[in-house]
């Protein structure tokens, strides 16, 4: 017995960015994710209608990948409700920016830095178990969010915007970012002390002075567009190699 179309779509939502391009962004992946449910929906209907729906679902789209299921579900539900193609495309376009902004806050500046911050802070105490726990927690949350997103879209179709507003998601996005800010703040001194004590033992004042200079450069209006931590680190690395060689 095969997987139901809904479960096929849930699995495919994990790979929504596999064929990501600058022109269509995640459009192809969203079309791929929607295909099993659209195939099921149009099983007894005209193949031309089905192909038009699949083509619409693969047009330009970009949002946070974890929340793409909301758009996929809403599009499938709208196709089921007989909503005109133009209105469906408009819904996809309108969802793109807000789902991107919400997902970026919830995941990229929320849940992921929060987990990584707490993991870094716990490393000196529990070692690699903290890493394993972070991966487990993240993937459980990722799966639940993916499934919830698809079901929300399927349940509400064109009304998904209002449903999203009344859901837990906007509040969670705000809270997750505060937790992340705390966790990263906690991690920085703990990780610095751990790496310094276990791996270096000396030069603490030099390191602190360099961090101060680097942080000012990455934040100052005149230099922040050019200096990132990576560029600063590579510059320091180059300088260290020169000094080591006595060149």
């Amino acid at each position: 017995m095969g997987l139901s179309p809904r479960w096929q779509t849930i699995i495919r939502l994990y790979g929504v960015q596999a064929a990501w391009t600058y022109e269509r962004m995640a459009g192809i992946g969203v079309g791929h994710a929607a295909a099993p449910m659209l195939r099921d929906l149009f099983r007894d209907r005209d193949a031309i209608e089905r192909r038009a729906a699949v083509a619409r679902s693969a047009e330009y789209f970009n949002s946070h990948p974890y929340l793409a299921g909301i758009a996929v579900g809403a599009v499938v539900r709208s196709e089921r409700d007989g909503v005109p193609g133009g209105a469906i495309s408009r819904l996809r376009t309108a969802l793109s920016g807000p789902l991107g902004a919400l997902g970026d806050q919830l995941i990229w500046t929320g849940e992921v830095p929060a987990l990584m911050g707490f993991t870094l802070a716990l490393l000196p105490v529990v070692g690699w178990w903290a890493v394993a726990a972070a991966v487990l927690v993240h993937n459980v949350m990722r799966f639940r969010l993916t499934r919830w997103s698809l079901d929300l879209g399927l349940a509400h179709g064109l009304g998904v915007g209002a449903a999203l507003q009344q859901s837990w998601l906007p509040r969670a996005a705000k809270d997750a970012q505060r937790v992340a800010a705390f966790a990263v703040g906690l991690a920085l001194p703990v990780t610095a002390a751990w790496l310094w004590l276990d791996g270096i033992h000396e030069g603490g004042e030099v390191i602190l002075a360099l961090v101060l200079v680097g942080t000012v450069l990455t934040l100052a209006p005149g230099t922040r567009t050019r200096v990132t931590g990576l560029r600063f680190g590579l510059a320091l690395l180059g300088a260290a190699i020169l000094l080591m060689g006595g060149w």
Partner: protein, 158 residues
Amino acid sequence: MAIVLFRVDDRLVHGQVVIGWGRPMSVDHVVLVDDTVATSPWEQDLYRMAAPDGLRVTFASTVEGIAGLPGWAQAADRTLLLTGDLDTMVALREAHPALVPRINLGGIHHQPGRVEKLPYLYLGPAEVAALERLRHAGASVAAQDLPTAPAVALDDLL
């Protein structure tokens, strides 16, 4: 305070705007000037919902944008003014040249007839004509998707 950034981005209010630019520039007010969204309450609700804590979003049509611009420029907020297309930004600039000194091109995406200039910037004849008008009017225009990415001057795009 002032309008700290004038940005053209057809994805409107999304992560690069509210986090990428909004956070480092301490933006607390986004004005979205877009004739379609200005008449669509459900889309406005979506964009408001996606705004982070402490960020207010105002929606305006082009006409309302032209009328409101002097007020936003003098308000205490740090405002980011966003349009979804170049024509709207040209209209704002031509109405208030002194208040729109610099324009950031953050996202004009692929459509039939447009040619890629940068991964996030595709220009067709209509976009090139609008940019030429801005150049002749003396506006400073540069493409830059995020503050940490290099800015590309208009002369290098046309």
